[in-house]
């Protein structure tokens, strides 16, 4: 921090902003205050790695007890579960786009494949089969394939890794914009395939249920635990949190590894990377595969949560939604992407439809704000690109490159801390 005497002030401002946001999204008051405290401390001790670690632990504990302060369903927690699941996806996309610099506009394909894995293996969709593995209660008696959720996760991860690499293959010789076009096409293919899958039969088994959706999908059923319920979202929240922590762990470990350095080298200069001994094909495919795997995990979770696998979920706009989280948070920045995902989820599912929706009609305009939500995202991104191209919580490298490198560090310090409050 360049102006030490301002530190307490900035920390206080960050904490204040955190409380404000907490109350706006109807977070419990006590929890908002604790969050504000953690955020304030994080900003104040930003330069002390040990303190930062301690505060991170505090934040995890805070997140674990968070559901206990809210009603079990129908309120704050609904969006919180979604935010965590989307954060998992955004972290996956971050590996592809943020680390390796491969602009993937078809990430929805992995959401679709993960969700379909849940649709096939956790429902009565394959009606003739009668397979039950490690499931309890009603799920153990219904026709269809009913596997335990961890098994479905493994299947989703494997399928998505393979799909990610297959989609990656034709882009290997391409660069930049052309990668975006090819992945965009794959995303569309996945969406169309799910949409028209009810017309495609293989051995009497339909591929999907199209718009009608595969429904119901089994509620998540973990070994040794009661099956999850739709009316109590706390277990869902904790499971999503566990997935997020796992993915965060993997992200951090990979970033600071041989592979992570190779990805960033690839992003910076492909020719130089190859000349330094980085095998392009393998490195790129690993990025696609790892990134896709996280999308699949989250997709399977969301399918069970939303109880349906339905063609309308898998549209191009979803890819953009996740990409916007990555860009808003800061390309390549792990913390930033989580912040971006939480921020956009709340803007999309709480702020626009619940808090601000009737603002236009109140000032005499004849439309709801929800009709404009993508317009609002676009506007946010434009503002970001102009004011803060490195993202809300920028990657260390980009921050130095874009801000400190040019020598306007003074303002950046202040901006950064205010922004971290939104975590």
């Amino acid at each position: 921090m360049r102006r030490p005497e301002l530190k307490p002030l900035i920390a206080a401002a960050a904490a204040g902003l955190a409380i404000l946001i907490g109350l706006l999204i109807e977070m419990d008051t006590t929890m908002s205050v604790v969050l504000a405290l953690l955020v304030g401390l994080r900003v104040f001790f930003a330069d002390d790695p040990r303190a930062v670690k301690l505060i991170a632990v505090g934040l995890v504990v805070w997140a674990i007890v968070l559901p206990l302060f809210h009603v079990e369903a129908g309120g704050f927690i609904d969006d919180a579960v979604l935010a965590l699941a989307y954060a998992v996806m955004a972290l996956g996309l971050n590996i592809i786009v943020g680390f390796a610099g491969l602009l993937d506009l078809g990430y929805v394909a992995f959401f679709a494949i993960g969700a379909l894995a849940a649709g096939y293996f956790m429902s009565g969709f394959v009606f003739d089969a009668n397979i039950h593995v490690l499931v309890s209660g009603l799920n153990a008696e219904l026709p269809g394939i009913h596997l335990s959720f961890p098994l479905v996760l493994v299947i989703a991860v494997i399928l998505c890794t393979i799909a990610g690499m297959l989609i990656g293959l034709p882009t290997l010789r391409l660069r930049g914009d052309y990668i975006a076009i090819v992945t965009l096409a794959f995303g569309e293919i996945a969406g169309r395939l799910v949409l028209n899958g009810d017309e495609i039969s293989i051995a009497g088994q339909k591929l999907t249920n199209g718009r009608q959706g595969i429904t119901p999908v089994d509620k998540i059923d973990l070994p040794l635990l009661q099956p999850f319920e739709a009316l109590n979202l706390r277990p869902w929240f904790w499971l999503a949190l566990a997935m997020l922590l796992l993915v965060l762990f993997v992200n951090y470990r990979l970033r600071d590894s041989r592979l992570g350095r190779a990805w960033i080298a690839l992003r910076e200069d492909e020719v130089a990377a190859a000349s330094m001994g980085v095998p392009l094909v393998k490195t790129k495919l690993l990025a696609y595969g790892t990134g896709a795997a996280f999308g699949g995990m989250s997709g399977a979770f969301l399918a069970s949560l939303s109880n349906t696998v339905n063609a309308d979920q898998f549209q191009f706009s979803f890819s953009i939604f996740i990409l916007a989280m990555v860009i808003l948070g800061g390309l390549g920045s792990i913390e930033g992407v989580v912040v971006g995902a939480i921020a956009l989820t709340y803007i999309n599912f709480r702020l626009i439809p619940d808090v601000l929706n009737d603002v236009p009609s109140k000032i005499g305009l004849d439309f709801d704000l929800t009709e404009l939500s993508f317009g609002i995202f676009g506007f946010l991104l434009v503002i970001m690109m102009v004011m803060r191209p490195e993202g809300l919580v920028p990657e260390r490298r980009r921050k130095q490159e874009l801000v400190e490198g040019i020598g306007t560090g003074e303002t950046a310090g202040a901006g950064e801390s205010v922004v971290e409050a939104r975590a």
């Binding site: 290997l172 470990r253 592979l259 350095r261 130089a272 000349s275 330094m276």
Partner: protein, 291 residues
Amino acid sequence: MSETEQPPAERRSGAAPGGDGDASAANGRLLVAEQVTKAFGGLVAVEDVSFSIPQRSIVSIIGPNGAGKTTFFNMLTGLYKPTMGRISFDGKDITAKRPDKITSLGVARTFQNIRLFATMSAIENVMVGQHARMKAGLFGSILRLPGVRKEERRVDEHAREMLSYVGLDEELHSQLAINLAYGDQRRVEIARALASGPKLLLLDEPTAGMNPQESRRLTEFMRKLRDEKGLAILLIEHDMQVVMEVSEHITVLDHGEKIAEGLPEDVRNEERVIEAYLGRQSDDDEEEGEG
């Protein structure tokens, strides 16, 4: 990129070791290029060039702009696939091998216009240079197994060593490459190349943008590399003073063809070389899109 190029007409003819390669290693020739040709569509950038680099030597390729020097370089490092011809290194055929494979065999390079990884620190840049010498895989890195941890520490230490060897101040080691001064960037690029543990170092116009004093220091450094590290160095250079001073052998390219080679003093007086540099009557204005 290399993958998009058409496959070379004649490569690795199945009849395995091709006595020539082994013989060359025995003769003390580290790299041998035989009748190498590169055509981009109808444009022949390098035509029928044969060339070799002895062990522990400093040799140069010179020639006017567009002579095909960098194209030739790119074939040696695998960025381009030769249309025809054969290249062997250390007794192994490397014709049209992938760049990363060639690097791991012991060929490292720098670029004419510095190509560091801008948003990585100097150390990280040099660590990437050691990629081919590391083993850590996806799962090993996630779990950070003891072997991986040890390897990371070793690579980090080696990177610092290399940076000190090329003379980068210690406080600059963790600076982002993009924030370094031009001369320091050149240093980091050489350190990055050295970190891959090469037997042959290719330098593409390393003194570009340097003042005479800096050039002289670099010349000394090249000799030091040859004598201390036992490296062979291939140099593309425009600064004739540097070339004449440091090279043991010079090859002159013009319009993609080899027009002369030999000791510096011989080449200097060669009529065709003087012609190529000063121009003949009128036909010398075309550019070949690279320098």
